[in-house]
Symmetry: D2
C-alpha cells in the first residue's frame, strides 16, 4: 500500500473487533476523504489485531502488536509515509501514557475522552503538549454538531441576554443490568476503576454533559453539589448521578447523567435560558434547535447548507441541504476535518474547532469535583481553576 | 334563581375578573353538569365582585362582599339551597383561615394549593378537618389526568420493577421579567411573602412537581438538597430552584422548578425509571405516556375510552375516544367530579381520587424543607415526617 | 327543577346511554355555564331514555318518548321555561326531519353533521330556515379550535400569499374490523345506507376534512376526482377514500379520509401552502400551529390567552394561558358559547363563529360529488355550486 | 497517487463544484473506507473540473475533460489501477448515454436517478446490461435506510396482514420561487425538458416516493390517476403533483410530490396499513419507525445495532448503537457498501441490497404514466408492465 500525499496519515491504537468506538472513529475520519488510515495496533489480542487490520486493508508491516511498537516504528519511517496523527481509542487509563509517548515522538494526538484518569495526569499531558509542536484533540463528538455551534454563537451574540439557567442531562439505560459480568467489553472496563479512573458514569458521559454546558453557555462552572449512585451490588463505580452547579458569570443549573435509565438510548439534551430567551437542543434530533424568545412565537432553527438564520460556524459544519439528516458520524467527522486541516496548516497546541487539552483539563476537574462531592456533607464544592 | 336538587351546590371565594384561576375552577366544575355555582365572594373590590356575579348569573343575595359574610350567611340558609362545598381561589395566606371557617360552619372545602402558608398552619387545618364531617380537596390539577393515574398504576403493579430514578421538572417563563411591578395581579401576590408565604416558585409550582413525583412514584421523598434563586433585583421570593432528593424506598432524583425559563409555557414533565423499565409524561401532551421496557421497543400508551393497555383508574378519567384531546380543564373536572360524588356519598375527610389534606401536609413539608436547604451549608436536609 | 333565567335552555334528541356523542355535546354545552339542559328525548328505547334523563337530573315531565313529542310539548310550555335550542344528535337520516319540525315550532337548531342525507334535503332545510327567525348551527367541532381560526386568519391576511396547495387528511382505524356486526351502535348506523345516507366514511369524516379545508383556505372546492373503497365484504358503504381537488381560486389539493387505517385514532391534519409560506395543524396536537415562511426559520404558534402572534379570533377561543392544553370539548364548547350568545343577541339564520346551513350545503355537495366520482370514468367532476 | 488494492476504484462523472450531489456521493462512498475515488470528469467547465480534482487530491492524469475521455482512457489503463465502477451524477439526459458507454467498456455503473429520460431509453439500457457482466445500481438513497428495510421486512412477514392503504408524500419547498432563473444550477437543469426529460418534480422526487412505496409495500402499482401542476409562469415542467393509485395486490393509495410547499425541506413520509396494523416512517426522523397494531399500544421501533425488534436486514444497515443518529449519508453509504461488496464478489446485473435496473424501469414507467395521466380525461391509466 502506498499513501496518498494529500491525505493526512492516521494511526489508531485500540478499536479492534468488538470495540464499537474504533469503527466510529474510522468512519468519521474517512467521511470527507481527507484522512487515510495507515497503521494500527487495534487489540492486545494478536488475532483480533490481525483480523481488524486485514479487514481494513492495512499492510502487515503497519500492523503493530503494541502501542509502543507502533509509536516507535512509525517514528522511524520516512516522513512521506510516516503516520502523522494518532487516534487513541483505548480504555481511559492508557490515554495519557500513549498521548505522552506520541507527542514525544512528534505525532499529533486525537484522543477519546476523558483526557486522563486524574486531573494531575491531564496537567502532565498539558505540559508536555505545551513543550511540543503537536496538536491535541479530544473526541467530544457532540461539539461537532452544527446546531451545538449555532447555540453557542447565539449565546455569544447575546441573543438570550444574560444567562440564568443551564439544564443539561444525559440519560442512558444500557447499564441497567449487570452488563459488565456478561462479557460486554465496553461495560467491563468502564466499571473497573483501574481502567476507567475514579468515576464510571460521570467520566463516561457526565463529562460530555459538562463539556457541552460550558461550551454552549460559554462560561465556566465554578462550583457544584453532586450526588453519585451505584445501583448494582457488584458494580464498583458510579452508574448514575446529578449535580446542582453555579457558573462564574452567575448562572446556575442542573446536570444529570445516568446509565440506569432503563430504555433510554443516548438522550443528551441541553437547555439554556437568559433574560431574553432560551434554547433547547437534543442529540437524538440533532438538526433542530428550538429558540424561544420572550414575547415571540417559538422558532425552530434547522441544520442545512440552505437553511435560514444560521451562523457561519453552524453552516460550515453542514454538508447537506435541510431535511437530509446528518448525525453522529458527521459530527465526529467535523472534528476530524478540522483536525486534519489544522495539521496541514502547521498549527500546534489545539486545532480550531476541535476540543483540546483545555477541555480535557476542565473535564478532569469536573470528575474530581463530583467524586469529592459524593463523599462530602458540605453542599458546595469548588472546581479546581484549570483549563 | 332556584337550585337544581341533583347538583352539588358550590360557592367560591376569590376568582373575580382578572383572576385566571377562578374561571378555570368554574369551567372544570361545570363540565360534567354535576355541580352548580350558587354563591360567591369573588373580589374585595365590590365592583369587580358585582360584575363577576352578574356575568355568572348569580342572584344578588348570593353575592357576598366578604368571605366571612359568605360563610356566615350561607350557613343560615335552609339546607336545600345552602351551599355545600366552598372553593377557595384566593392568594395563599387566606387558604387556611377560610378553610377553617368553612369547616367550622360545616362546608366541604376545595382549596387551591398550597394548602397553607406554613406547615404548622396546615397541621392546624388537618386537626380541624379530622374533628369534622367535612371533605377537603386540594387543586393538584395534574393529579386529575388519566395518564398520570396510568403511570401510578403501572408503578404500583411493579411494571417498572424497583424504582431507581425520578426526574421531575416544571419550567415556566412568565416571571422572566418584573411582572409583579406591571399590574399583573397574579404575579404581584405570588411575589409577596405576606400573601404567598415563605416561597414563591417552589410554593407555586415546585409543590406541583413534588406532589406529582410522590403520587406517581408512590413513595415519599425523605431528604433533599436544594438551591433557590431570585433573579430580579426587587423580587422578594424565589423565582427558581432545583433539588436533589432521596425517597424512603431508596430511589433518588432531581426536581426542577423555575419561572424564569424565558419562553417556556407550562412544561411540567416527569420521568421515572426502575430496574425493568421507565415512564415519561409531559403535561403539555397529556394524552400520551411513553413506556420503555428493557429489551423491548418503546410503547406509547394513549388516553381514550377505547385505548388499549389502560388501567381502570385511567379509563374512568377519560371522557372521549382516543385522538380527541382532553386537557387541563378535563383534568381538573375529574377532581371536581370525584369530589362531588364523595359529597353525595356522605364521605368525610378526603374524597377518593382527589388529593386531600395529606397531600397538603406533604407539600408544606416540601416548601419548608427547600427553604431551609436554601440557607444551609449542609447537603442533605430531612423532610418532616407528615402526611 | 326550575330554570336559570340567564342560561340558554337546551333540549336534546338522541344521545342516550351508549351514544358517545350525546355526552360530548352535553359537556361542551355545560363548559361555560351559559347553557342549561332542560329536556330530552335521548333514545327510542324507553328504559335507556329514562335512565339517561334520571342520570342527568332531568324532570320526568321534560323527558319525552319521541322527538315529535318533545317538539310538540315544549312548544306549548310558557316562554320562560320553554326550550330555546334543540341539539340533534341522532343518526343522519333524522337530522333534517327533526330540524324542520323544530324550526317550524320556532326552536333554534344545533345539529350533528352531515346536515342531511342528500343535498336536496339540505336545500329544503335551507329554505325553511330562510323563512324562519331561527338559528341553525352545525357541529363541525374542529372549526371551534383556536388554531384553526388562527390559520384561517393568517390565510385571509395574505401571510401565505396566493394559496397553491391544500392537503387535508383524516385517517382513523376504528372500522378496520367488522365493528358493525359486533353490537357497536355507532358503527352499525354509520354503515347502514338507510340511516347514514349515500356514503359512510366520506359523510362521517370526509365532510370534516372538506369543511376544514374550505374554512382555512377560505375558498371553495369546485371540482374533484375521487376514489372510494369498501374493505369488508359485508360492509355496505365506503370506509375509505381519497380525492384530488381544485379550488375556485386556482389552488389544488388532496383529501384523504379513511376508517381502516389500523391503529390510527383521529388524526385529522391539514397543510396549506402559498407562494410565501405554509401552515400545518394537527387535531391531535391542537394547540400548535406550524408556520413556515420562505427564507425564515419555522415558527410554532401556540394557543393560549397570553401567547404572542395570535389573531383576535384565535385569542377569544382560548380559555387558558399557554401550556394548559385545551382540547376537543373546549373546541365544541366554543361553538356552543357562540351559538348561545347569538340566541341572546336575537340573531337569526346563522350564528357568528358557528358553521351554519351554508357549511351544511357545502358538505352535502361534497358527499354527492365524491359518490358520483366513485362511479365515474371521467376524471374531474364539478361540485354543485351551493352554500 | 497509487491505489489501494483492497478498495474498489471509483470514477465519477459530474459532481463538480456547485453540484451538491457529487460531494454527497463521495462522502457516502468514502464512509466505510471500502471505495477509493481514482478518477473523474466533474464538469464541462475545465476550470471547475480542475479545481474539483485538485481539491480531491486526484492526479492530473486521472482528471478528464469529458466523460467520453474518462471511459476511453480508463479502459486502457492496466487492470490493477483501472477504475472499476463509475458514478454518474449528471443531469438526467446523460444517464443512459454514459451508462451504455461504461457498460460497453466493462465498467460497473452506479447512476443517479431517474435511470433515463424515457422508458424506452431505460429498456435499451436494461438490454445492454443484460448482455454484459456489469453491475448497475441506482441511487435511490432512501432505500438504504435501516428502518425502510425494517418496514419492508415487517410487511413481508405479514405483520400488517393484507395491505389496504399506502400513503406516500414528498413535499419540498425549494422551487417555490423561480430558482431556475437565479443561477441555481440544480434548479435550472431540473426545469429544462431537454436535460431532465418529460417531468420535473415527478422525475426528481415523485420517483423516490413511488420507489419507496413499491419497495416497502412489496407490490407493484398497476394503475394511477394523476394531476400535475406548474406554478410559475416561465417554468417548463411540473413542479408539483399527486396521484391516486392501485396495486396489483388490491391495495390503494395516494402519492404526493411537490416542490412548491413553501418552507418544507425534504419531508418524504410513508404510511402503510393492513388489516392487522400500520407503519409510519419519515425521512427527516429516519431512525424511528412507528408500528401500530390493532388493539395494542403503539410501538416505536428504533434503529441501532443494539435495538430490540429489528430484522437482520435492518440491523446490518446500522453502524451505531441506538440514540446515535445516522442519516442520509449513511443511507447512501449502505448502498455503496453493498455495491462494492457485490463487485468484489463478482456479481453481475444487480447488487444485493442496491436498487437496480428493475427499479429504474419501474420509475420510468411511473413518470410516463403520470405525464400521460396529466393530459387525460380518463380517470385510471395503467402503468406499463415492466421491471
Amino acid at each position: 500500500m502506498k499513501t496518498d500525499q494529500n491525505k493526512v496519515r492516521m494511526g489508531m491504537i485500540g478499536g479492534g473487533e468488538g470495540a464499537f468506538i474504533g469503527a466510529v472513529h474510522r468512519c468519521a475520519a474517512a467521511l470527507d476523504a481527507r484522512i487515510e488510515l495507515v497503521c494500527g495496533a487495534f487489540s492486545r489480542d494478536p488475532d483480533n489485531n490481525r483480523r481488524t487490520a486485514t479487514d481494513l486493508g492495512l499492510a502487515v508491516d503497519r500492523t503493530y502488536n503494541s502501542w509502543q511498537a507502533l509509536i516507535e516504528q512509525e517514528a522511524q519511517r520516512p516522513a512521506p509515509e510516516r503516520m502523522e496523527m494518532l487516534v487513541i481509542a483505548t480504555p481511559n487509563h492508557l490515554h495519557v501514557p500513549i498521548a505522552l509517548a506520541a507527542i514525544n515522538a512528534g505525532f499529533h494526538v486525537f484522543s477519546e475522552k476523558p483526557a486522563a484518569v486524574s486531573l494531575g495526569e491531564a496537567q502532565q499531558l498539558a505540559q508536555a503538549l505545551d513543550a511540543s509542536n503537536c496538536l491535541y484533540g479530544l473526541a467530544h463528538t457532540y461539539l461537532g454538531y452544527p446546531m451545538v455551534w449555532q447555540a453557542r454563537e447565539m449565546v455569544r451574540e447575546g441573543m438570550l441576554g444574560t444567562l440564568r439557567k443551564i439544564y443539561v442531562e444525559y440519560p442512558q439505560g444500557w447499564l441497567s443490568e449487570n452488563q459488565e459480568a456478561q462479557d460486554n467489553k465496553q461495560a467491563a472496563w468502564r466499571c473497573d476503576p483501574s481502567l476507567a479512573g475514579a468515576s464510571g458514569c460521570m467520566a463516561d458521559i457526565g463529562t460530555h454533559a459538562f463539556g457541552l454546558a460550558e461550551f454552549i453557555a460559554n462560561q465556566q462552572i465554578t462550583s457544584l453539589c453532586a450526588e453519585l449512585n451505584t445501583h448494582l451490588p457488584d458494580r464498583r463505580l458510579d452508574d448514575d448521578g446529578a449535580a446542582l452547579f453555579r457558573t462564574r458569570n452567575g448562572a446556575s443549573g442542573v446536570l444529570i447523567a445516568s446509565q440506569v435509565c432503563a430504555g433510554e438510548e443516548n438522550a443528551l439534551k441541553i437547555r439554556v435560558y437568559g433574560d431574553k430567551g432560551g434554547l433547547e437542543w437534543q442529540q437524538m434530533s440533532p438538526n433542530s434547535l428550538v429558540y424561544r424568545q420572550l414575547g415571540q412565537p417559538m422558532q425552530v432553527l434547522r441544520a442545512g447548507v440552505d437553511q435560514p438564520g444560521l451562523s457561519a460556524e453552524a453552516l460550515r459544519r453542514c454538508r447537506l441541504p435541510g431535511g437530509h439528516p446528518e448525525g453522529y458520524l458527521e459530527a465526529m467527522g467535523n472534528l476530524y476535518r478540522d483536525f486534519a486541516a489544522a495539521i496541514r496548516s502547521g498549527a500546534a497546541g489545539s486545532a480550531p474547532g476541535v476540543p483540546g487539552i483545555s477541555a480535557g483539563l476542565r473535564g478532569m476537574a469536573f470528575i474530581e469535583t463530583v467524586v469529592a462531592s459524593r463523599e462530602s456533607d458540605t453542599k458546595w464544592i469548588e472546581l479546581p481553576n484549570v483549563g
